[in-house]
C-alpha cells in the first residue's frame, strides 16, 4: 500500500523559495498571487495490508525523520489501489 506524506512549512516560518516562485509567476503574467509556499511530498510503498497499520508506520516515519516539528507540519494520505 502506498503512503503519501506531505511536508509543509508552518505558518510564520519564512519561505524564501516560495517568495522566489511567487515573483517568477508574477513575471510570467499571473496576477493576484499571494502566499506561495513550497513543500515536499514523499511517497513510499509499505508492505502492509491494513490501512491503519500503513498510516501508523507513515506517522512514525514522519515523526522520526521526514518532518522537523520546529519548522514543519505534515499530513498523510493512504492510497488503496
Amino acid at each position: 500500500m502506498k503512503a503519501v506524506i506531505q511536508v509543509r512549512l508552518k505558518n510564520g516560518v519564512l519561505d524564501p523559495q516560495g517568495k522566489a516562485i511567487e515573483s517568477a509567476l508574477e513575471n510570467l503574467g499571473f496576477s493576484g498571487l499571494e502566499n506561495v509556499r513550497q513543500g515536499k511530498m514523499i511517497e513510499v510503498d509499505i508492505d502492509q495490508v491494513d490501512p491503519k497499520d500503513v498510516r501508523q508506520t507513515a506517522e512514525a516515519m514522519a515523526k522520526s525523520l521526514l518532518a522537523n516539528p520546529v519548522i514543519e507540519t505534515y499530513n498523510i494520505e493512504i492510497c488503496e489501489e
Partner: protein
C-alpha cells in the same frame, strides 16, 4: 584536551578542523566515522565539522542527526562533554535536538561565502573565555541554510538564559557603516543569531567557521581563541 572529530559522508571541513585542533592541542584529534556506535570515554571535546552530510538531502543535517555516532554524541553531551558544531555541524546539533530551533534557507536564497563580523555575547563560557569582553571578531561563513529560526518562546528563553553565543554585527572599521550594517547579517537569522548554547552551556553551535580563521594567512586568527578557550578550560 582529548579531542574527537566526527566524520560523516559529505563532511568537508573536517580537514581544516583537524589542522586547527592539531595546532591547538599539539596532537591530532581522534577521527570517528559516522557508523561508530560509541565515542571513547576519555574524549573531553567533540567537534562536529561542516560540510554537506548526505548531500543535504531532505533537510541539512537530517540524516547525520540519525546516525549511530550521533546517538553516542547525545549521550556524551548529557555527561557534560564539550561539544562544538560548526556550520553543517550546527545544523546536525539542532536536528538531533541538542540545540533548539532550526536553520532554514538563507533569506537571499543564495549560498553566502564571505567574512562576517560577530559580537561575542559573553566571555565566561568554556568556549569564549579567551576572548576580550564584548569583542567583535571576524571569520568566514559559507552556507546556503544558515538562517536561524526559533519560535518566540524559545527565542526569549535563549535571551533570558544568556544562551546566545555570537551575533552578526557590522564591521567596526568599515568606511561605509550604513552598507556594513545592512550586510552584517548574511542569512536573515532571527535576532542576528550566529551561534547558541544548550541549557547546560557545554554544547555550542555556530554557522561561521572558527577553524578557517586560525592562521594569519587566511586573513583572521580570531577563531583560534575558541580552541584556546577550550584548552584552558579542559586542562
Amino acid at each position: 584536551m582529548n579531542a574527537a572529530l566526527l566524520v560523516f559522508p559529505g563532511s568537508n571541513c573536517d580537514r581544516d578542523a583537524r589542522v586547527a585542533l592539531t595546532r591547538a592541542c599539539g596532537h591530532p584529534p581522534r577521527d570517528i566515522w559516522h557508523t561508530e556506535c560509541s565515542i571513547p570515554n576519555d574524549i573531553d571535546f567533540i567537534l562536529v565539522p561542516g560540510g554537506f552530510t548526505h548531500g543535504d538531502y531532505l533537510r541539512p543535517g537530517a540524516m547525520a542527526a540519525r546516525a549511530p555516532v550521533t546517538r553516542a554524541l547525545v549521550a556524551h553531551a548529557a555527561r557534560g562533554t564539550a561539544i562544538l558544531g560548526i556550520c553543517n555541524g550546527f545544523q546536525i546539533l539542532t536536528e538531533c535536538g541538542l540545540l533548539p530551533g532550526a536553520l532554514i534557507r538563507n533569506t537571499g536564497i543564495k549560498f553566502v561565502a564571505r567574512d562576517v563580523h560577530l559580537k561575542v555575547e559573553r566571555t565566561d563560557t568554556m568556549f569564549t573565555r579567551a576572548y576580550r569582553e564584548s569583542a567583535i571578531i571576524r571569520m568566514p561563513v559559507a552556507h546556503m541554510d544558515g538562517n536561524y529560526f526559533a519560535d518566540n518562546r524559545t527565542l526569549s528563553k535563549l535571551n533570558d538564559d544568556g544562551r546566545i553565543a555570537f551575533r552578526y554585527t557590522s564591521d567596526p572599521h568599515a568606511a561605509d557603516w550604513v552598507t556594513s550594517a545592512i550586510l552584517a547579517n548574511p542569512n536573515g537569522s532571527i535576532d542576528d543569531i550566529a551561534g547558541i548554547y544548550n541549557e547546560q552551556m557545554n554544547v555550542l553551535g555556530l554557522m561561521p567557521h572558527p577553524e578557517r580563521a586560525c592562521e594569519r594567512i587566511t586573513g583572521s586568527t580570531d577563531g583560534a581563541h575558541l580552541f584556546t578557550s577550550l584548552i584552558e578550560h579542559l586542562s
